[in-house]
């Protein structure tokens, strides 16, 4: 800004001597052009401009409408994925299969209803153009899907596996939505927060082995993400998530540590999940 204004003043100053030298030429050039012709040209120009701008207006309207629909679909995905995550958190020693089964059904419903709606909207270059509009929903879905799968198999659900299930959606003539690496990784970063909560409830429920398993898993994900995070396109978002993630990892580690050190004094809480949440002081994470 400063530079351009400086350049402006400079060129203004430079303009002074030449202004008078070329004066005659300018006036001559201006006088050559008949005024009537200029107005005719202006009239037809006005029409072409109007036509062109009505095209641009249509383009922008369509784009904005589509973006709105995508945002809505994304919001629905977020909302319902969150429900799946809550469902997974209802897990306890005895109802594991049952709870996970319901969570998986819900997750499949999210895919069939809401992600399918998103897929219908997107095609071609939209995947990247409208990424901001649908990214939050997809991240939340990744979070829910990986959480479910971790509880069931103890392993990380790969991006390829999620994308393979997406390929079955929508009609085959359409280019299928494929979750990009960035959204997947951002979703994974959020997964740690959920796993931290889960580890805390598992500990208070006396399932120490499961908590330790979570601890190892989360630690490994953090380690791997550390290498990948700086390479991501908009790494500022990820950087913040990495900090939160480290805190989650440390919280789990410290919990496991406490249990180990004070093994003989350790008293598991046997309340409902909700009370143990608040007693452990786990901050509510969105």
């Amino acid at each position: 800004m400063l530079n351009s204004s400086a350049a402006r003043t400079l060129s203004l100053m430079a303009a002074k001597p030449q202004r008078f030298a070329n004066f005659a030429e300018i006036v001559g050039a201006a006088a050559k052009k008949p005024r009537t012709m200029a107005t005719n040209v202006a009239d037809s120009d006005q029409n072409t401009t109007k036509n062109a701008f009505s095209n641009y207006a249509t383009y922008l309207n369509n784009l904005n409408d589509k973006r709105e629909r995508v945002v809505k679909a994304s919001r629905d995905i977020t909302m319902n994925s969150k429900k799946v995550i809550f469902q997974v958190h209802r897990i306890s020693k005895h109802n594991k299969e049952e709870v996970l089964q319901k969570a998986e059904n819900d997750l499949a419903a999210v895919m069939d209803q809401y992600i399918a709606r998103l897929v219908k909207e997107l095609g071609g270059t939209d995947f990247w153009k409208l990424r901001r509009a649908y990214s939050p929903g997809i991240q939340e879905y990744v979070e829910a899907a990986t959480l479910c799968s971790f509880c069931k198999t103890g392993a990380l659900l790969n991006l390829d596996e999620i994308n393979a299930s997406l390929r079955t959606l929508g009609d085959p003539s359409n280019e299928p939505l494929q979750i990009n690496v960035l959204d997947y990784l951002l979703g994974l970063a959020d997964l740690t927060g959920e796993l931290m909560r889960m580890a805390m409830t598992r500990i208070s429920d006396g399932e120490l082995e499961f908590a330790e398993k979570i601890c190892r898993f989360v630690r490994e994900i953090y380690r791997d993400l550390r290498l990948v995070a700086p390479k991501m396109d908009d790494s500022s978002d990820m950087k913040q998530k990495m900090e939160v993630m480290l805190q989650s990892v440390m919280k789990i580690e410290n919990a496991c540590f406490s249990v180990h050190v004070r093994g003989s004094e350790y008293i598991p809480f046997l309340g409902s999940e909700d009370t143990s949440f608040s007693m452990l002081g786990v901050p509510e994470i969105e």
């Binding site: 202004r19 200029a38 401009t49 270059t125 392993a155 990380l156 290498l227 990948v228 805190q247 008293i267």
Partner: protein, 291 residues
């Protein structure tokens, strides 16, 4: 590091203090729970070694960790590739920027009352350079079909500047607006694979309007009293055309909002010229600049 360590300690303390202060309700459960706890810790390991050897102790988990690592390695390669692509795009857009700057600086001569054809000729020399650069950009994007908008940000502002310069040149030449399709044609872009984003075009046009008040002021100073009227008609039409668009609350909207100040400035110049009767008979110079 220090703060991380401190917070770790705090978290541990906070955590343990809750266990050290069990409620009465929990006391009653201790007895119930003893046998189970014994089962969980058959032989009490040293706390530190067990934490450290967690990875090796669980042999069953290592294959899944291996799979996990493999996936991340793949991601790393993908992201590295994308970063090098971005690097190439950036170097091209850097060249675009410098070519545009050259054009812009030759166009500035118009404020110094150089004859328009001369000014344009100099600037036009760079169009071929730009054409070549955009062709290069299109070639790079061809390597990753469908990802135009992934890297869009890397040439976005440069392209907007290009549009603004081209549109200004076009205005000087024809006194009309350079349309979106015409920009694509000038730059040799193929809309089906590497087109000009409509919003970029519109933003570029807004940038162009910022140049007009200065142009008008200097033309009047140089004695061209008809210029304000023509620019005013052009800019009024342009502003009216922009008002047809439903803009979102974004950068383009902001730029469009700025256009009315350009319009006002040109109006003022026009008023100054007209009220002094300069517009019809171009005899004296100097008064028109006041505004």
């Amino acid at each position: 590091m220090k703060t991380a360590f401190r917070s770790a300690i705090c978290a541990t303390l906070a955590f343990s203090s809750r266990f050290l202060n069990p409620t009465h309700h929990c006391h009653s459960l201790i007895l119930l729970y003893r046998p189970r706890r014994a089962a969980l810790f058959p032989s009490k390991p040293s706390p530190f070694t067990s934490m450290a050897s967690a990875d090796s102790s669980d042999a069953a988990l290592s294959p899944t960790i291996h799979v996990l690592e493999k996936q991340f390695e793949e991601f790393r390669h993908q992201l590295d590739d994308s970063a090098s692509l971005r690097e190439r795009i950036r170097s091209v857009s850097f060249e675009i920027e410098s070519a545009t700057r050259l054009m812009h600086s030759s166009l500035m001569l118009v404020h110094q009352s150089r004859p328009i054809p001369e000014v344009l000729e100099k600037a036009k020399g760079q169009i071929d350079v730009l054409r070549g650069l955009f062709c290069k950009l299109a070639e790079i994007i061809r390597e990753c079909p469908g990802q135009y908008y992934r890297y869009h940000g890397d040439w976005r502002s440069e392209t907007q500047a290009v549009v603004s310069v081209l549109a200004f040149m076009h205005y000087l030449e024809t006194e009309s607006l350079l349309l979106h399709a015409e920009v694509e044609e000038k730059l040799g872009l193929n809309p089906s694979e590497f087109g000009l984003d409509t919003e970029d075009y519109l933003t570029g046009i807004c940038f162009m309007s910022n140049d007009l008040p200065r142009y008008v002021v200097n033309r009047v100073t140089a004695g061209d009293y008809d210029c304000p009227r023509k620019v005013l008609t052009f800019l009024t039409d342009l502003h009216a055309a922009f008002r047809m668009l439903n803009l979102r609350n974004d950068f383009l909207r902001k730029k469009f909002d700025g256009m009315k100040y350009d319009l006002r400035k040109v109006e003022e110049v026009h008023y100054d010229v007209k009220i002094r009767g300069l517009a019809t008979n171009a005899e004296s110079k100097g008064d028109g600049e006041k505004s």
